[in-house]
Symmetry: C2
Subunit: 352 residues, 2 copies
């Protein structure tokens, strides 16, 4: 059983309230008493009851993290980074995986209010904005991550998806490609919408437009990626380049390209969106748009901690008025060996 404060007080020969004053760091105690209590606490292995101190300080030291899944490389990197940064500051992560299910998300938000979390970081489905507002109204700082539904409180830390897509398309256009295929996410998710918009904008700036036969937009699944790759490669005039903007689908896309015998980059230049360690170990190493998952995690943690530190009810100066701040983490193009000019020597015609 856990050692109680009473036992520490008795061993130190002081009253319970004196022992409590020492262990909560009060200065109104003599050095001798302080040493007696501290050594008794240490000898007995006493641990302050964090639940009781949470009631006193109105801090739970818990942060709710509401996230879509842990399979996506960006999501598991972000979760690892957030957990480490928050732990370094004494906060622990209550992990809530939604699987993009609004009902699960709603239950989690309710539960996190019950647990009196000190902050919330959420990759929102967009269907529970009223509940997220309730969290904000309860004085709990909120950071929206990667998705910013309309009318949610708090700050947002977002990837520069549109800019990243433009970098991918500009790189391929710059190499001389004109028939560029696009495999991306659905239009109702921020990243699906923004990456297609960036792709189309870069094409437009070069006097081109997306070819419907070469564009496939669908769910974040490997099955979709495999089917989409087969579809765009079977076009009457096949593409010379492919921008794979749907990370989950990319595994299916790569498998289908190997199956079709497509040689990268000789027959098809390839850019994938969202960095993952195995891209640089692939053959050929794959050119990617790095969306900065580590930085997204770092900045979300920093922004949340800053808001928590400024909460007026725990002695901070109070947060800023008005709407939250939007922080966008820039995308970077990492050029490896999967992209080259079209029709290079050695490039054979495509044989499906």
């Amino acid at each position: 059983m856990a050692v109680t404060l009473d036992e520490v007080a008795e061993a130190a020969g002081v009253s319970k309230s004196t022992a409590s004053r020492v262990l909560s760091g009060s200065s109104r105690v003599s050095d001798r008493t302080k040493r007696a209590v501290q050594s008794a606490a240490e000898r007995l292995g006493y641990r302050p009851n964090r639940i009781a101190s949470g009631l006193r300080t109105r801090r739970s030291n818990l942060i709710g993290l509401v996230i879509t899944n842990l399979v996506n490389a960006s999501f598991h990197v972000i979760t690892e980074v957030l957990q480490q940064r928050l732990d370094e500051r004494g906060y622990q992560v209550l992990l809530c995986v939604t699987d993009a299910d609004p009902a699960r998300e709603a239950r989690y938000l309710d539960m996190l209010l019950d647990h009196r979390v000190d902050g919330l970081i959420i990759v929102g489905t967009g269907d529970n904005t009223e509940m997220v507002r309730q969290v904000g109204a309860a004085g709990i700082p909120v950071v929206n991550l990667m998705r910013t539904p309309q009318n949610v409180p708090g700050d947002s830390v977002m990837a520069a998806d549109r800019e990243g897509a433009e970098l991918a398309a500009q790189h391929l256009i710059g190499l001389g490609h004109r028939r560029i295929a696009f495999i991306g996410g659905p239009a109702h998710i921020d990243s699906g919408r923004d990456r297609y918009a960036g792709f189309a904008a870069a094409l437009a700036a070069a006097g081109l437009e997306p070819d419907p036969d070469l564009c496939a937009r669908g769910p974040y699944t490997m099955a979709f990626g495999a089917e989409a790759a087969r579809r765009v490669m079977a076009a009457e005039r096949p593409p010379t380049a492919l921008y794979s903007a749907n990370h989950e689908a990319t595994f299916g896309t790569l498998g289908a390209l190997v199956q079709l015998g497509v040689r990268v980059p000789e027959q098809l230049s390839l850019v994938c969106h969202e960095e993952a360690p195995w891209f640089s170990y692939w053959h050929p190493p794959i050119t990617v748009v790095d969306n900065g998952a580590r930085d997204l995690g770092e900045l979300a943690a920093e922004q949340l901690l800053r808001r928590i530190d400024s909460r007026p009810d725990i002695g901070g100066p109070g947060g800023p008025e008005g709407a939250g701040r939007l922080i966008r983490v820039g995308s970077r193009l990492v050029v490896r060996s999967s992209t080259t000019a079209p029709g290079r020597p050695g490039a054979a015609p495509l044989t499906p």
Copy 2:
């Protein structure tokens, strides 16, 4: 700010203690009073203070999950499953990623004691068994997952790694392979040791023994997998089959095989350990030993919940005496298209 119990009591026209009795589910209150308090609580949006009730009931409703990382497919599947199952029973997961660092693990165990978690699930480094014993001694049920250091308290839920490795090797031997390469984890980690032991046992049963030129054992990294694949494929007498028992290394191994132009399965049959969705989308779809990550998560959650329910200090019948129970989740071989008989028609000599 949060609505207080005082405000609910005032709105319902009852005393604070009556309001408290109603909201904690006591039956010694009239139906009329009950309805008045409940409707006031609902109207005002009152939430019971879970911190205060945790102090009263000695339950925090928090479970510590100490795990190596979230990048490994087994680990992120296990984390998702555990979180969902525990949440369904009203428990929340405090996520602690160790990165296999014993110092971080020690800090987490200390913190989890402070937070008075109701249970601990740990993929242990093996360096903090004394602290894990302290957790058990504090009356907190412990489940050791995937790794069972010596002398730890609690139950263990383990993968059948040795059996799985035997299945992989027996499958390849059964197809007629005699020169079978092995790329695995280090000997001081359970899975590294057990998979090699199973591989060697299956070979011995067939009158064979591991060829040092074809065996590489090293860290759970892609870089190691790439280097190991190049090394075993460069052997004077190259292998006709490869058992890739190190999941993290597998990405590097596959990339190196593509780079070397090795055709699977015509030139090299391939079995990988630990299932991941993309194996079935690869070309060719890859034969795997499925270690049952989902079942590992399900059983760890079930076993922990059973122990929590039987804790004597919260009214349960008390746990069983003596050492904990070991539960082993069986491995399954999933045969896909990456394995075939050696020297099939069409198989060309290996050209590095």
